[in-house]
């Protein structure tokens, strides 16, 4: 819903890192995006492309790795990954004492720069 403000934050963070390192341009950016982050990859890519023009990322390609929701079960000790945005019970044993460990990511991993 607020992909525009997320794209703006993203461009600000990578532009600052780029300048600090004394690089000229950003060629590509790797992003991890959890399926339960509330951010839609297509909308984010659209916003990024529209907003990158006046930054060192003006020619950058945004590469999004979608991360599924995953959890660890306190009942059976297993770990699991699901396709949904949520977990109602452990898919391995059906129990309810699990912890969500992944799927909320909104992380910049790294970027390719040139001088």
């Amino acid at each position: 819903m607020h992909e525009v403000s997320i794209a703006a934050n993203l461009i600000e963070i990578v532009s600052e890192q780029c300048r600090k390192g004394g690089y000229l341009r950003i060629e590509s950016i790797n992003l991890k995006l959890g399926r339960a982050s509330g951010i839609m990859p297509d909308a984010l890519l659209f916003a990024f492309d529209a907003m990158k023009t006046d930054s060192p990322a003006r020619d950058a390609v945004l590469m999004v790795e979608e991360v599924p929701v995953s959890g660890r079960c306190g009942g059976c000790g297993g770990t699991f990954t699901v396709q949904e945005e949520y977990v109602l019970h452990c898919p391995l044993c059906g129990g309810g004492s699990f912890q969500i460990v992944g799927g909320r990511e909104l992380d910049i991993v790294d970027m390719e720069v040139s001088e």
Partner: protein, 215 residues
């Protein structure tokens, strides 16, 4: 050349939220981030809570895309209130709260409610410096909402099921809402209330008072 960035996009917001939280803690005020879809009854719940009070000194921050209707409703109860207009943004963020901290008599408050923008999605993603999140769902919105919007149900300490006076006119399955919401978040407290009739309000206000005392 490859450069490591390893940064959360919302890191700046989280940092400002932590600073807000420090200021709230220093003033001894318990902060509740109140969230729901548009029209579920956030302002009505605040009006009921202010009328019941239970000895608590309560202040309010109203977040709306535009207008000051909600702040005017709260002012009638004599509570300190600040209106934030987000000018289109679909949620409050930590920076918007930081900007109005100076306009509130924090030292004179026990509880500060931050009424977020009406939206079942994004308010849950942005910390503002709160001690806890509380969400409302009105029974008229239907029983499919927990599974359609799981994040807010997962992040909240309590769910206020509002407008139970309308139950005779709907086909909503309250049992399903309870079951799905509690599967998403086993620690979730659920209160069934009507801001129209006042049903269930006392129980909610008593619980709020206990939570505020604990912290």
């Amino acid at each position: 050349m490859k450069v490591k960035v390893a940064t959360k996009i919302l890191e700046a917001n989280d940092r400002i939220a932590a600073e807000n939280r420090k200021i709230f803690d220093g003033a001894g005020v318990f902060v509740v981030n109140l969230m729901s879809g548009p029209g579920a009854g956030k302002t009505s719940l605040l009006e009921r809570t202010l009328a019941a009070k239970g000895g608590l000194r309560v202040g309010v921050v109203e977040g709306d895309i535009a207008g000051s209707d909600d702040a005017e409703r709260i002012e009638k109860y004599g509570a300190p209130v600040v209106q934030i207009n987000t000018g289109g943004a679909c949620h409050l963020d930590a920076n918007m709260i930081s900007d109005v901290l100076g306009d509130l008599p924090l030292d004179e408050l026990d509880v500060l409610f931050i009424e977020n923008v009406g939206n079942l999605v994004c308010p849950a993603e942005f910390k503002v410096g709160e001690d806890m999140k509380v969400m409302l769902l009105s029974v008229a919105e239907g029983h499919d909402k927990p599974l359609k919007y799981p994040l807010m149900f997962q992040e909240s300490a309590a769910l206020i099921l509002n407008k139970i006076d309308l139950l005779p006119y709907t086909d909503v399955d309250v049992g399903k809402i309870r079951k799905d919401a509690q599967s998403l978040n086993p620690g979730l407290r659920i209160f069934e209330v009507s801001c129209r009739t006042g049903a269930g309000i006392d129980e909610w206000v008593a619980w709020l008072g206990r939570e505020a005392e604990k912290s």
